[in-house]
């Protein structure tokens, strides 16, 4: 069935968690009862202008949006969301680091070598 244009506008792209990210998040919340949320914040800095900052939190603020998937909860504020909507959050494990990462960010025009910062599309 076709959706009406009004409905399509209301539908905002959110954030998607990969299975690895969900599993890691579940591990973390089991280990630490004070941490129930993974918080993603975008701030100025990093080689490319904006950087992703991940942290554990247990408080949802007024201007936050929560994305829940498989029991894992990812939270981001509305200002940061503008720069990451439609992106995927992954947990990557490789030789130099194991970390949460933002991948496939449709708002980014380019990134730095380590993947922790990005250049926004104008």
């Amino acid at each position: 069935m076709l959706r009406s244009p009004v409905e399509a506008e209301v539908e905002e792209p959110g954030l998607v968690l990969t299975q690895d990210a969900i599993e890691r998040m579940q591990e973390l919340t089991r280990e630490d009862d004070k941490a129930s949320l993974l918080r993603l914040t975008v701030e100025a800095g990093g080689c490319s202008g904006f950087q992703y900052v991940f942290g554990l939190d247990n408080k949802v603020n007024e201007d936050d949006r929560v994305f829940e998937q498989g029991g894992a909860r990812l939270v981001t504020d509305m200002v940061s969301l503008e720069h990451v909507k439609g992106a995927t959050v992954d947990w990557t494990t490789d030789l130099i680091k194991s970390a949460f990462e933002v991948t496939n960010n449709p708002n980014a025009a380019g990134g730095c070598g380590c993947g922790s910062s990005f250049e926004p599309k104008m």
Partner: protein, 345 residues
Amino acid sequence: MQLASRFSSHAAHLPAQLSCLRDTRGVLRLSGADLVHFLQGLVTNDVHGVSNSIAPAVYTAILSPQGRYLHDMFLHSQPGDVPTALADVDQQAVPDLLRLLRRYKLRAKVDIADVSSEYDVWVRFGDASTSGTAATGRPAASWPYDPRLAALGQRAILPSEQLSSSDPAAASSTLSMPSRSQTSLPRADVHAYRRWRIMHGIAEGDTEIPSGKAVPLEYNLDGLNAISFTKGCYVGQELIARTHYRGVVRKRLMPFRLQPREAGVGELVGQPILAESSGTRTTGKVEVLDGDIGMGVLRLQQAAAAVAGKDVLRVAGSGVQLTPWIPRWWPPEWLEGTSADADGQ
């Protein structure tokens, strides 16, 4: 070849003087609990001291993610409960700096305001400007030193209401700002300061450093205390670090004198510079001119040869000859491999 002859005697003697840069410089006020963290991710220099109101002024730049120069600024810490800095910036950069800083602000607790109408930038320069004693007997140290180079003297941001006061010293005593204590010194116009900078081969602001295009190291920002190579990531850092640690900077901004002296000034800016030894391959470009002196980004190989009298530089399409010189403050390693390299003689 005598080592000393590599350097010019062009650094003319000039008595100490004052100049107000109100017509060319603007002032921004940056304040808020997140100020240091916010700036640290954006600018090329280490600004952790900005939260300390007695910290010296910091010269720094904001780059594009590709590592090109966008804007430069002098940050002066201000006293108060909330971390605050005043930024001395090129007047024509103010609109873009406001746009840029506000875009990067996101949720950071930082307020950004254009306060150009409340403050003026002053410089004190000339031969005695670094000696530490003012003509009035007040310590010249009450003005911050130019963080780039001692020879540039002192540079301060002062409230502009002092200008209307009949007694500037009295007005300044009610403010916790550096006092404009040297008012008995001769006043020079903006040109005099600009020429003093050209003599030392130092460009400043978007007026002289092309925003979005200039390679920061070609404008010598690495020799002018604008860049920290140890502070960590900031916007544009990848290119700067790579060039600094692995690359060689082959072109740099150098001062020169025009011959004939009366050469038309306006039409030469932006013109390519050719070296007699290199045929039609350009050696550089005229970037800044003021009377018979100017600055251009020049290939060091040819420029050093011209300094040593082994090559001749001309502005393309004109008979005008350029005689460059090597500023005294240049570290010798910038000239490694050129004919001015003392080790290579």
